[in-house]
Amino acid sequence: MGTTFNKGGIHPAENKTAADIEDVELPNEVTLLLSQHIGAPAKAAVSKGDRVRRGDMVATACGVVSACVHTPISGVVTKVDRSLTPYGYMADSITVKADEADHCDDEVRRKNVEPCRSIDELDGLDGERIRAMVADAGIVGLGGAAFPTHVKLAVPKGLKADVLIVNGAECEPYLTADDAIMRLCPDEIMGGIKLLMRAVDVKRAIVGIEENKPDAIVAMKRAAACCGVDVTVVPLKVKYPQGGEKQLIFALTGREVPSGGLPVSVGAVVQNVATARAVYRAALYGEPLMERVVTVAGTARPGNYRVPVGMGINELLKVAGGIPADTGKIVIGGPMMGKAIETIYAPLTKGSSGILVILEREASRQAVMPCIRCGACVEACPMGLEPYLISTLSRFRMFDEAEEQKVTNCIECGSCSYVCPAARPLLDYVRYGKATVAERIRQRKKKCEDK
């Protein structure tokens, strides 16, 4: 029996079908959003008419928390302007268009990646060098949140990390992208873990994988056994949100991140398995983050696809067999925390871990009933909060009380909304309350500093 976190949690239907990774042909055009990560948007480093090559940086990180962007195809920059995001907003982007020759050239280069460093050279890299390399490669957390990785690797002054937690839980239903990467390239992940351990200066790493991925556990254990550093692979109980950062740290180390604190305050730094692999490839091949593995579900040919960042969602869906006529909702990410999109004629980003096509009849919900005070949400909350209470407080704009009830501790995992028999939109209200309270806290701090 695997280890698990200490409070709440739910068991949604897993709906996972192990699939290998299929390469998607490079598209003729990509639209690279400048804000694909948490933090400040990147700044365009090219202008209209410039020629770019696959792997070139087209936008630089701007500010402390930011990440640069690279193009996955060679061609000409046709547009540096605002374009539509999947969520229906306009945002700054760069469009690159390839011609026939570029296209063939890229496919050849994609197939024959040459190492630019030897393994010995990798072992000689120091922490600072690794962090710089990660930043240059534009790597962000690939689990879905897309937080710039080099920022997470820079341990704040006065704190010391002692363990690297590697997240292979993949607790979201449907998603199998991390599973596929762990099964197919465990050695690359292990290489990445070694680099990450040096980047945060720790001697120990723990990889957590949910028990519903037995092949991945075997592959990772085998890779860990011959990697030469202290890496333990720990099977985790299948329970959502096992892959939540705080839940995972507790499950693997028994440490509780204090409310409002960073994981590193208990000595842990968490990285996703796919991120570890991206770090390895960046170090060995000099390959920036311009492609990722995306799980597609609900189409005629579901599976895991290696997709260039910036490719249109409609194109990926076409490759995956097209969407059914009675499609009701399309979600980027997993069904628990993913976001419903407004249009498919918009590009994929570095954080797109999955594309789920949900039929109209599955997307429709029963009518909202009055709360029957069953307490299911309280039982399900992995943060020990009372969702029924904080959602009601938020709904009636009682923000002082909501703050007292720690609405800002919510990790937005959606367990409360999932279990509610009265179909109440608990998380929607909580999100509103959390955002408002967080803003009020910021304002208060600012006022204090001004004085």
Binding site: E256, V257, S259, A340, A363, M369, G384, L385, S417
Partner: protein, 318 residues
């Protein structure tokens, strides 16, 4: 097509459990107890159950439509459940007009006056029962004998319940055959007889995760411990006086019980204590209903002061 995509906040999958399915699970868990009641009391049980259920449904429907001006939602099963629970708390020879009054008080005052489903403070079925107990003490404390006159309704032969006989000093607790007691071969309300049937219901509710063990087990545990301490017969205390019915089906009512597990245990222990105090030092031979109603009143307070421990707050110095 793309301009018609549904946009909504996460999560995008939900449990298949609904308010309606919760209610029907509880109704299903009551089936063994109902079967028992019909077997022991025959026609009387049938009459009381059907009058109670039908009048609860009718009152809910009428009040929602004509007083609150909303569409009645009988299909969510909550009125049916209230009717069933009320019936199980009544003697099988109770005249139909009294049952109707009980249903009116249960639904009208116990539930609808607070705003309907989810808003009531007190368990509606118990409000109805206690109202009847105080208003019609004679009819409410004459209990038909099981298996005696199964074809009679109001004229069935009656006797006092075990606990009141013990209280009156008619029998000593040690003379009681626990097997008879467990099988329901003693006088009592519809739902008091057939402990095994009630326990089956509890197993069903626990297995389907409609209720957690916290409330029923803390009530039963407290009663058993208390009985041990004062030297009373543990078996009799547990198996009679509607304790099982109360602990399994009445105290666990979602709306009127605390929200978190810690609160549930406090609530259960208090119900157990109050029950035993009433039984041994109060005016009534049994006190489960009063104990539950009292603690229903304390539930908002329990919810306010007894909270789950928040993740990450373990070492927070206050």
């Amino acid at each position: 097509m793309e301009n018609m995509l549904i946009i909504s906040g996460s999560p995008h999958v939900h449990t298949s459990r609904t308010v309606r399915s919760c209610m029907w699970h509880v109704v299903a868990a009551l089936v063994p107890a109902l079967g028992c009641a019909l077997f022991y009391f025959g026609l009387g049980a049938l009459a009381v159950v059907s009058v109670s259920v039908l009048s609860c449904m009718a009152f809910e429907c009428l009040i929602e439509r004509y007083m609150l001006g909303r569409r009645p939602q009988l299909s969510n099963g909550s009125a049916i459940l209230t009717g069933l629970l009320l019936a199980l708390n009544l003697p099988s020879n109770l005249p139909a007009w009294i049952v109707v009054i009980g249903a009116l008080v249960a639904i009208g005052i116990g539930k609808m006056s607070f705003g309907g489903l989810g808003c009531n403070i007190f368990n509606p079925a118990l409000v109805g029962r206690v109202f009847l107990l105080l208003s019609f003490p004679a009819q409410m404390t004459s209990w038909p004998l099981p298996l005696a006159d199964r074809l009679e309704y109001v004229d069935a032969a009656t006797g006092a319940t075990l606990l009141s006989r013990i209280k009156m000093g008619e029998v000593s607790a040690d003379d009681i055959d626990l097997v008879d007691n467990a099988l329901g071969l003693v006088g009592g309300s519809l739902g008091e007889v057939g402990s095994i049937a009630l326990l089956l219901g509890m197993i069903y509710l626990l297995a389907t995760r409609i209720i957690s063990w916290h409330i029923p087990l803390s009530i039963m545990g407290t009663v058993a411990l208390f009985a041990l301490c004062i030297g009373s017969n543990v078996g009799v205390e547990l198996l009679s006086g509607g304790l099982l019915l109360g602990a399994i089906f009445m105290a666990t009512d979602y709306v009127t019980s605390p929200m978190c597990h810690k609160g549930m245990v406090v609530y259960g222990v208090m119900i157990g204590l109050i029950t035993m105090v009433i039984r041994h030092w109060g005016a009534y031979p049994e006190g489960v209903s009063f104990a539950i109603l009292l603690m229903n009143g304390f539930t908002p307070l329990i919810n306010r002061y007894i909270k789950p421990r928040k993740f990450g707050e373990r070492r927070m110095a206050k």
